[in-house]
Amino acid sequence: MEVRTTSYHLSIIFIQMKITKIFITLLLCATVISCSNDDNMVESLVGQTGDLIVKFDNGVGDQDLIFDVSYDKSSNESYKLTSVKYIVSNIELTKSDGSTFMYPEIENAFIVDEADANNAGEIYITLNDVPAGDYTKISFGVGIDQERFQKGADGQGNLLAEAQEKEMLWSWATGFRFIRLDGVYSDATVTDEALNIHMGSVGTSLDNYREVSLDAPNTVIVREASTPEVHIKADIAKVFDGQTSVLFADGYNQVHTDETTTPVIADNLMGIFMIHHVHNE
């Protein structure tokens, strides 16, 4: 995690934006010039930017995630979900040469909500103005890191309002829910008991932010004229049966701010993601 100080960082973003503007202008000129030149020139990526789409696809093991469908978990427990949401932030891309691109902080927090998924069950995040390049790795955080949280409102634009609309903010304390799973569970003794996983950091006392780094199975080629799609699968089953297998009956049916249960869920979350494939146009 790089160290960032806001004013410094924002001014960098500002400069980047300016530079981008200049480059777009240059690019327009370049296009005009290249129009009059039929020969293929060596591809120059300098100053070129493009878009990149990250698709999140939630599943349970080898099944699609569908609301209100019962899924089995370990120890003869089962569950049905009615909401699945999580926050993804600090998306960073790594090129084959090891250099990295961190998406601008102010726009670098996304709420992935299963309810927003298309018919194929995919939720799209579009990253704009990504420097052209060949990327091999994508990393991101699940939740909101302490540094950003401790800035309060600063640099957050309308994120707090959006998080609240998506019910990803606590109302009785200040803080984000990093993941929100609501539904019911059943086991040998109970049927359709409430299941609510609302895990987040608790102020500055308990840090449940976790980072994930995923290797791409094939190169992600970003160009002005080519928008790759990175298809990430998230296995929701691993929230409960990941690094640690937890039992709903042991209190893991209600996970909110508890100092012992929330970090277990946070650690499990790190392992739910994988890049299934990459489409290059």
């Binding site: 806001t6 004013s7 503007k21 202008t25 949280f149 401790q150 800035k151 309060g152 409102a153 600063d154 640099g155 957050q156 634009g157 309308n158 994120l159 707090l160 309002a161 959006e162 609240q164 609309e165 903010l169 109302s171 009785w172 304390a173 200040t174 803080g175 608790v202 102020g203 500055t204 006392s205 308990l206 909110h256 701010t257 508890d258 100092e259």
Partner: protein, 338 residues
């Protein structure tokens, strides 16, 4: 090129030329905790924050502003209410806290559930028992108001009416609320030749021996959470700090309150159960119960919990506590609605 130029000249030309304000650092106070470089206080931002603080639009029924529960004359507490009530007559769970010297704190509320001043207002704003609103609704309401349309661009460089700037403006207003000119302050800073009376000095001596382990520094709090052995009110069963981390060691712990302007912030304790300072001192002397997790420092040599005080000591302590009253702050027109 031409296209880019015209884009720039399209933006409305409201000039952002703020007048910066200084948040006071009184000589006898601990250091400012709020990161002012992220949100420098300006006159324009302060004015905006004040307008928001006194505006009922921040609530669902447009009639419960922040000031409803935080009245200046009582150091911004909800005068005369043990528990605060909000929209639709909903009754909250706690006694409203004074708003003063917030710049020097890093956690807020009786249980510390708010860990940044900017974010604290989200709690009353959205609580169904208090203002019952959502941030996006407030944004929409403010966008439709001509005062806010012109004030946000004066207060913030990007001029946006969004949750970030609403919260920053509220913080700017709150950061300026510094109470540091009580008789006690002037006495400890050797200002204006102010002295304490004999009784007040005796009270100070008792306070330093029996109270300042928790009510420490000139903010009169070490900002820790403590269980003081208040009998549990089963109807509310407010577990205090326990709610935040669900740690059994935190059961019934509450933030040690600052005692500034304590003469005016009655009723007392997190649930406002005591109407007078005498009642508070009677509790310390003889009302404490062992609820299983009482602060060890409150254990007497005979094993019971409490801080023994004679009637005379109570009178002296109260005289001293009243020297924390800061009339300059309570009457400061910068914070007044009109």
């Amino acid at each position: 090129m031409a296209i880019l130029w015209s884009c720039d000249s399209d933006s409305p030309e409201i000039s952002y030329t703020p007048t910066y304000l200084q948040v006071e650092q009184p000589a006898n106070f601990p250091e400012i905790q709020y990161n002012l470089s992220n949100n420098p206080v300006t006159q324009e931002g302060f004015d905006l924050g004040k307008a928001l603080f006194y505006d009922g639009k921040l609530s669902a029924n447009n009639s419960i502003p922040c000031a409803f529960c935080h009245e200046q004359a009582f150091a911004f507490t909800h005068h005369g209410h043990t528990l605060s009530h909000g929209v639709n007559g909903g009754i909250g769970f706690r006694n409203s806290q004074p708003m003063q010297n917030l710049a020097y704190f890093s956690e807020f509320m009786w249980d510390g559930a708010a860990s940044h001043l900017d974010l604290q207002p989200i709690i009353p704003l959205t609580s169904e028992l208090e203002m019952g609103e959502t941030l996006s609704n407030v944004v929409d309401k403010l966008k439709a108001d001509t005062y806010y349309q012109s004030q946000f661009p004066l207060a913030f460089d990007d001029g946006e009416i969004n949750s970030e700037n609403i919260l920053k403006a509220l913080s700017q207003f709150m950061l300026m609320m510094v109470s540091s000119n009580s008789k006690y302050d002037k006495y400890v800073r050797n200002e204006e030749g102010v002295t304490l009376t004999e009784v007040e000095l005796q009270g100070q001596n008792i306070f330093e021996n029996k109270c300042s382990s928790c009510h420490a520094t000139d903010l009169f709090t070490d900002q820790s959470y403590r269980n003081t052995g208040l009998p549990i009110n089963a109807k509310l069963d407010d577990t205090g700090r326990f709610k935040v981390l669900e740690n059994p060691e935190d059961l019934y712990k509450f933030k040690v309150p600052s005692l500034r302007n304590v003469e005016k912030t009655f009723p007392y304790m997190h649930d406002g159960r005591f109407a007078t300072l005498t009642a508070v001192l009677n509790f310390y002397d003889s009302g404490m119960v062992d609820n299983g997790n009482v602060d060890e420092s409150l254990k007497r040599s005979d094993g019971s919990f409490g801080i023994s005080l004679t009637e005379n000591e109570k009178v002296q302590l109260i005289a001293f506590l009243k020297t924390f009253t800061d009339n300059e702050f309570l009457n400061d027109t910068r914070f007044a609605e009109y």
